[in-house]
């Protein structure tokens, strides 16, 4: 009857999968904010669909991470909902990029800007497609199976969002201005996607999955091509590195979690 936070295993393999699962979940959560508010009906459907696919990916990863964690700690496996809803912020391992608000100026209560959403979708989908491709060859068969399904979804997500980046980047002056602004807002959170640490090293060594840094070259090439075609300019990259994948987030995640976790926290022992 209690709903205090759970603490997942800190085994590198578990952390590796949680990073991926949390990326999918928090990205999906932000996309869910668009429900019913998109610029055209087709895009309302598409954004909901993206969100749905990402939730599906997160579920499979959480379930597997829960089992691996139990093997590590010797306890009962944590289920997908315990992992998704009952951790403290510090234990969420998504990159900061996906927790940022959709607003044009990065302000937490600002209006959603479809340009920011579109660019982030393209960045995340490109990264995920590359990651899933490599994960289809994971030494962990369950992960390979999850990736085999997810990579098809990610290909569609990438295509769909890249099409929008093109349309908006090379559309009107207004849309180009908004897209370039989105680039300025989001760019400093991209390097984190390629920062290795011991979790990555372990995954690479064990064959569980690619180190983050190993996705960089392909990502940079694909995004550079897209940006060029969309007539967008990449800003210089500063020294700042966001640290969401290490559990140190922006001020935005706390608000996302308060909303997302509310029912699980307020109705301990509930059945849904």
């Amino acid at each position: 009857m209690t709903a205090p936070s759970i603490t997942p295993s800190r085994a590198p393999a578990v952390r590796y999968l949680l990073r991926l699962a949390d990326l999918c979940l928090i990205h999906a959560q932000r996309l869910g904010e668009w429900c019913g508010h998109a610029p055209i009906l087709e895009e309302d459907i598409a954004l909901t669909n993206l969100s749905l696919d990402l939730i599906g990916q997160a579920r499979a990863l959480y379930t597997h991470a829960g089992r691996l964690g139990a093997a590590d700690t010797g306890g009962q496996p944590l289920d997908e909902d315990q992992l998704a809803f009952l951790r403290e912020e510090r234990d969420y391992l998504n990159p900061t990029l996906v927790e940022l608000p959709h607003s044009a100026d990065g302000s937490p209560r600002g209006e959603r800007d479809f340009a920011v959403t579109t660019l982030r979708n393209a960045l995340v989908a490109t990264w995920l497609r590359l990651a899933w491709e490599r994960l289809t060859e994971s030494s962990d068969e369950e992960v390979a199976a999850i990736a085999a399904k997810a990579v098809k979804e990610a290909r569609y997500h990438q295509q769909h969002s890249a099409d929008w980046v093109l349309r908006l980047g090379d559309g009107t002056d207004e849309s180009a201005r908004r897209m370039q602004n989105a680039v300025e807002q989001l760019w400093r959170f991209v390097p984190e996607l390629f920062e290795d640490d011991e979790v990555d090293a372990h995954a690479a060594a064990s064959g569980l999955g690619p180190a983050a840094s190993s996705l960089k070259e392909a990502f940079d090439a694909e995004i550079a091509e897209l940006m060029a075609e969309a007539q967008l300019k990449a800003p210089a990259v500063g020294v700042f590195r966001s640290t969401g994948r290490r559990g140190v987030h922006s001020e935005h995640l706390g608000f996302i979690l308060a909303e997302m976790q509310h029912l699980q926290r307020a109705y301990p022992g509930g059945a849904w």
């Binding site: 908006l168 699980q264 109705y267």
Partner: protein
């Protein structure tokens, strides 16, 4: 007269009218109004449920909710497409929605206040919608009838999912969850009965629509059918329907029920419900905020076309 006679004969034979067939102007108008109203209801209906996407209590329920909302968007698409076959564009139809000229189902002017509301919308609102819509699968206008076949299939899926969500809470949940379900049922029951429209005696469009096979069962008959079907489901669920006058009438072979507050119905239809301003305001805002996106997409398409011509 020849065309009109042929049209009437086809209707009388229970045949279908296709988009390219001749049809009386009034038939066209009536259908356009009805189909677009139905399409608007689907997209406005995304809002009260969308209100809970970020707060769904489990990943499974979040996925089910997202899939449902996606389906509703899809229904909107087919229905706008069906309405367009009658010669009015989606933009024109949306313009009528945004200006307040066109209606959408008044049920969506009620708020979704708890997670149980999401389940109750599936069970009762979609349940009532299905009662209304199943007969439309045999509507005389074929593009509408075809859209309805697909929509009804998905709607019954949604209804089962909504009922299932409530069943879990009622059978395995905490006392707080059970109270939450009962509270949601209390708030939605009467508005759902209003979904079938005014009593037959006051229903303006019914006679002609019946004649044309656009409407096949009367408001009151559908409402009775809904009540009869729902009473047993409520019993299985373990909730009380908030109507002390609800009782089985052996003679009629139906459940009697209390008097509907038609004043409330007309008030909400007229714009003075709890969420009318919010719902329409949100749709208008989404449309206005999205103007630059639609313009950019058009501009880009034009550029691409120019390039291809030049190549």
């Amino acid at each position: 007269m020849h065309l009109e006679q042929r049209f009437e004969a086809r209707i009388d034979d229970g045949g279908f009218i296709e988009a390219k067939d001749w049809m009386p102007e009034h038939y066209r108008k009536t259908l356009t109004r009805q189909i677009s109203q139905h399409a608007h209801s689907e997209i406005v209906g995304m809002l009260p449920e969308g209100n809970w996407v970020t707060r769904a209590p489990t990943l499974k329920r979040k996925a089910i909710l997202l899939a449902k909302i996606q389906d509703e968007g899809g229904h909107g698409l087919y229905l706008y497409a069906a309405a367009e076959t009658l010669g009015t564009s989606r933009d024109q139809l949306l313009g009528a929605l945004h200006s307040g000229k066109a209606k959408y189902s008044s049920i969506f002017n009620y708020p979704t206040l708890t997670w149980a509301d999401v389940g109750v919308i599936g069970w009762l609102v979609d349940g009532a919608a299905i009662m209304n819509q199943v007969p439309l699968c045999r509507c005389s206008y074929a593009p509408y009838a075809r859209a309805m076949v697909r929509i009804c299939r998905e709607e019954s899926f949604h209804q089962r999912q909504g009922y299932d969500a409530l069943l879990v809470m009622m059978q395995q949940g905490t006392p707080e969850q059970k109270a939450m379900v009962q509270d949601a049922v209390n708030r939605w029951w009467w508005p759902c009965l209003m979904m079938f429209g005014p009593p037959d005696a006051e229903s303006v469009h019914s006679v002609q629509s019946m004649r044309w096979g656009i409407k096949r069962i009367s408001n009151d008959d559908l409402r009775q059918k809904f009540v009869d079907a729902t009473v047993q489901q409520a019993e299985v669920l373990g909730v009380t329907l908030p109507d002390p006058e609800l009782k089985w009438n052996e003679q009629r072979g139906h459940w009697d029920f209390g008097t509907i507050d038609w004043d409330e119905f007309w008030r909400v239809v007229g714009g003075d419900g709890p969420c009318n301003r919010e719902r329409l305001g949100m749709r208008v805002k989404a449309w206005n905020d999205g103007a630059w996106v639609r313009e950019a997409a058009l501009a880009h398409a034009r550029k691409q076309a120019t390039k291809q011509e030049a190549a």
